[in-house]
């Protein structure tokens, strides 16, 4: 136990130190973790043991990441991406396998060359997605192309696992099969295996579509937060187990589950709850990659490993560039597309081990390759940096840059907090104006009803930082607050102001004093909840009393303008008077009186002076 805690402490402390330093130096968190790994690894401070074991455990971070990626991809969007996924991904894996395998064939027997080609065609989902997210590139056209290829690679792992044992040149070890925890379906006849696998996938769909909602709702209604976290973790772990049992990739299974849950109202809650676990696991995963770099081996075979690394990256880069050209990736996106995926991936570690245990390759062949993959992964964040430097130096090509779809992007730019009576109309209005807000509401029943009407509403407490982040606060432009509870609204304003100073805020206040409270917090765009309706109804009243409709309209406008215009001044008076300890109640009345006299004098006169034609001769 003590040993475990010590190891945990070393990992956590190393990342707590390395990541901020790396970020400060503009290197990004992935590089920070990798460097931390090297420092605490056996060839520097030698603070940790069995980094590889840790790596295997924390690979689960990749599984979680794909679940989270799935959550952000609706089935319809995935369907739209079928051409890039199958076409671009397929072309990349095939061409890379051919080129790399062909080169390896110059030195090794064809079986081994084929295995190497297949394994090295894969790129690192973990590093690439993490880096893209950090740089805010996930939602760009280049980001989507990169993601498509990564997704195909994850799919391709499954047939690879089937093919690799067939390439064995040495006698197989008897214990090559993993010891199944639950039961081993390979004992079943072939056709039953297929049926079981299909059933597992169908089960995920069924659970995601029909069971998850009532279960989540029941859990949310308890309002015990950790139970929701537990349920979310259980979901991901359970799916991984199920996938492992039926022999599919857990990453792929959870990705599918994520897609199924993408239009679920608890999506942001799930994201918020799993994000820290994913982040931590991935971080430790990166550290263990850094720690597993075998510097003795690298030192001994430096020429060979450097050659493999360079060859790997150059070939992959070339293949990617050609793939990008064939599939018409925009000219400006091509360099990023090619650089982002030109490395070996974490699957290579798994698959090389798998090859070793299946007698495809011996340790002597595998080890330099693993080192080369690790080095290429280490170089990837650096390549991103080089790309950024290089691209920012080339003059901007405006016409090509503007190709991005602005409306689609704008849709994600607004977070609507609270979807009650007022939020509903506001939301409808924004949607009709072509702006699709991310809507968050705290009442499970309300969310349920609104979703039935086709609104994209999510359940959650937006005053929690992690949920605000999951709703996209770091990329959003505007936060609209229509929460009736002024304490919670205030809390949200402070939270947003502290963590997202760039985020614009527009808020609704229950009444005048609520508006003043928001003004205290520095919000400048405030509307009073009932003010607009009161004045419109007043306009109707004047009309019913026989006022000319246009006069009634103008009266309303003039009153509104005066009232809103005097708000800042009255706010100042109120706050000063408060210092003089005048009771709130008296102040309220005084304000009211003050307002009434002001209105009686000003408005009719305003109306009266307009359009009074006088003879200019007089």
């Amino acid at each position: 136990m003590e040993h475990f805690l010590l190891q945990l402490f070393i990992f956590l402390a190393a990342s707590a130190i390395a990541v901020p330093v790396a970020k400060k130096l503009g290197l990004g968190s992935v590089l920070g973790y990798l460097i931390a790994g090297i420092i605490i690894g056996p060839f520097c401070l030698s603070l940790i043991d069995n980094a590889e074991e840790v790596m295997h455990f924390t690979e689960f971070g990749v599984v979680m990441m794909l679940f989270l990626v799935g959550l952000e991809l609706k089935p319809s969007l995935l369907w739209q991406m079928r051409t890039p996924i199958l076409g671009m991904g397929g072309a990349q894996v095939m061409l890379s396998s051919l080129v790399i395998g062909g080169t390896a064939f110059l030195f090794l027997p064809w079986q081994q060359a084929t295995a190497i080609g297949l394994i090295l065609s894969l790129s690192s989902t973990a590093i690439v997605l993490q880096t893209l997210r950090e740089k805010g590139l996930m939602d760009t056209s280049a980001g989507r192309s990169i993601f498509s290829v990564l997704l195909f690679q994850d799919l391709a792992v499954i047939p690879m696992l089937a093919i690799l044992p067939l390439l064995a040149t040495a006698a197989m070890h008897a214990d090559s099969h993993h010891n199944a925890v639950l039961f081993d379906i390979s004992a079943l006849p072939q056709y039953l295996q297929v049926i079981v696998t299909l059933c597992a996938i169908l089960l995920i769909f069924f659970l995601g579509k029909f069971v998850s909602r009532p279960v989540f709702r029941a859990i949310a209604a308890t309002r015990v937060r950790e139970i929701f976290v537990a349920a979310a973790l259980a979901l991901v772990v359970g799916i991984s187990l199920l996938m492992t049992v039926v022999g599919l990739s857990p990453a792929l299974g959870t990705f599918l589950a994520g897609v199924v849950l993408a239009d679920n109202e608890y999506r942001h809650e799930l994201e918020g709850d799993l994000e820290p676990f994913k982040g931590l696991l991935l971080g430790i995963f990166f550290i263990s990659i850094g720690a597993s770099l075998n510097f003795t081996l690298i030192g001994n075979q430096i020429a060979l490993i450097a050659g493999i690394t360079a060859g790997l990256m150059v070939f992959k880069w070339l293949v990617l560039f050609i793939t990008g050209t064939i599939f018409r990736v925009a000219k400006n996106d091509r360099p990023l597309f090619s650089i982002a995926l030109a490395q070996g991936g974490e699957f290579a570690f798994v698959l090389f081990q798998y090859c070793k245990s299946n007698g495809v390759m011996d340790a002597h062949t595998v080890e330099p390759l693993i080192s080369a993959v690790a080095i290429s992964m280490f170089l990837t964040p650096l390549m991103f940096l080089v790309h950024e430097k290089f691209m920012s130096q080339t003059p901007e090509d405006d016409t090509e840059k503007r190709e991005a779809d602005p409306i689609d992007h704008q849709g994600q730019k607004v977070i609507l907090a609270g979807f009650g009576r007022l939020g509903t109309d506001l939301g409808r209005f924004l949607i009709s104006a072509g702006i699709k807000p991310v809507i968050i509401d705290h009442d499970p029943v309300n969310v349920e009803v609104l979703r039935r009407f086709g609104f994209e509403v999510y359940y959650g407490d937006i005053t929690r930082l992690d949920l605000l982040e999951a709703a996209g606060a770091s990329e959003a432009e505007l936060l609209i607050i229509t929460i009736g509870d002024s304490d919670r609204a205030g809390k949200l304003v402070q939270l947003a102001g502290k963590h997202y100073p760039e985020l614009k805020i527009a808020a609704v206040a229950a009444d005048r004093s609520g508006a003043y409270a928001l003004m205290d917090l520095g919000v400048s765009t405030i509307r009073r909840e009932t003010f607009g309706t009161a004045l419109t109804l007043g306009q109707d009243a004047l009309k019913l009393l026989g006022f000319d409709p246009y006069d009634a309209y103008r009266m309303m406008r003039i009153f509104r303008k005066n009232d809103e215009g005097t708000m800042p001044e009255l706010y100042k008076i109120l706050r000063e008077d408060e210092e003089k300890y005048i009771s709130q109640y008296q102040q309220h009345n005084a304000d009211l009186e003050n307002l009434m006299t002001l209105d009686m004098n000003a408005d009719m006169e305003h109306l009266d002076k307009a359009w009074t034609a006088e003879n200019p001769e007089i």
């Binding site: 000319d548 409709p549 246009y550 006069d551 009634a552 359009w611 009074t612 034609a613 200019p616 001769e617």
Partner: protein
């Protein structure tokens, strides 16, 4: 019987004696539609389809309004800008208004002598209303000289207001019944210069 549409525009109607009197004198006539633009569209959001429908349903279109800054109140310009669409009012396909009669009924502060080349306002009413004449021409409508009431100020004698209202009613009724001599109207600067000579007794 001709159907007559009066597009009425006065932003401060409650304080206009003359315009109210003119309007009141024709409101109850059969075949007359009074369309109060400021009352209908206080926020200026004009319903183009409704307005076009009204125009199509009538044979005579009158713009009744005070003569603000040698032109119309603001909403009337908005009306022209929105309602007179290409392909509907003008252009090779725009024939919705073809052959309809059009004129303005205006009230102004300065008297007739100020609307002369050497007068205070330096231009005649005919010159100042030429944009509407051009508009009618473009829309293939028959333009008539404006029904003009000048020298309006507060405290006009009631009989004078009454007399103008009566004239307005007479002119509108004659247009409705087709007893107004369209050829003869052009001999005068205003539609109401000499109603007795241009209206045939039926």
């Amino acid at each position: 019987m001709n159907k007559i549409l009066i597009n009425f525009a006065h932003p401060a109607r409650a304080r206009s004696q003359m315009n109210n009197a003119l309007r009141k004198s024709v409101e109850d006539l059969e075949g007359i539609t009074v369309n109060d633009l400021y009352a209908q569209y206080p926020d200026f959001l004009i319903d183009v389809k409704r307005e076009q429908g009204l125009c199509e349903d009538h044979d005579v279109i009158i713009f009744q309004h005070p003569f603000y800054w040698y032109s119309t109140p603001a909403i009337m310009k908005e009306w022209l800008d929105l309602v007179l669409e290409h392909g509907w009012a003008y252009g090779s396909q725009g024939k919705a208004l073809e052959g309809k009669l059009f004129f303005q009924a205006i009230t102004g502060g300065g008297d007739d002598s100020t609307y002369r080349k050497d007068g205070y306002n330096a231009f005649t009413i005919g010159e100042l209303t030429s944009p509407y004449r051009a508009t009618a021409n473009l829309c293939r409508m028959t333009w008539l000289p404006p029904f003009t009431v000048l020298g309006i100020h507060r405290g006009l004698p009631a009989e004078m207001i009454e007399a103008h209202a009566k004239d307005y009613r007479r002119a509108v009724t004659a247009l409705r019944d087709g007893t107004l001599d369209i050829e003869k109207v052009f001999e005068y600067r205003y539609l109401n210069s000499d109603l007795n000579t241009i209206i045939r007794s039926s």
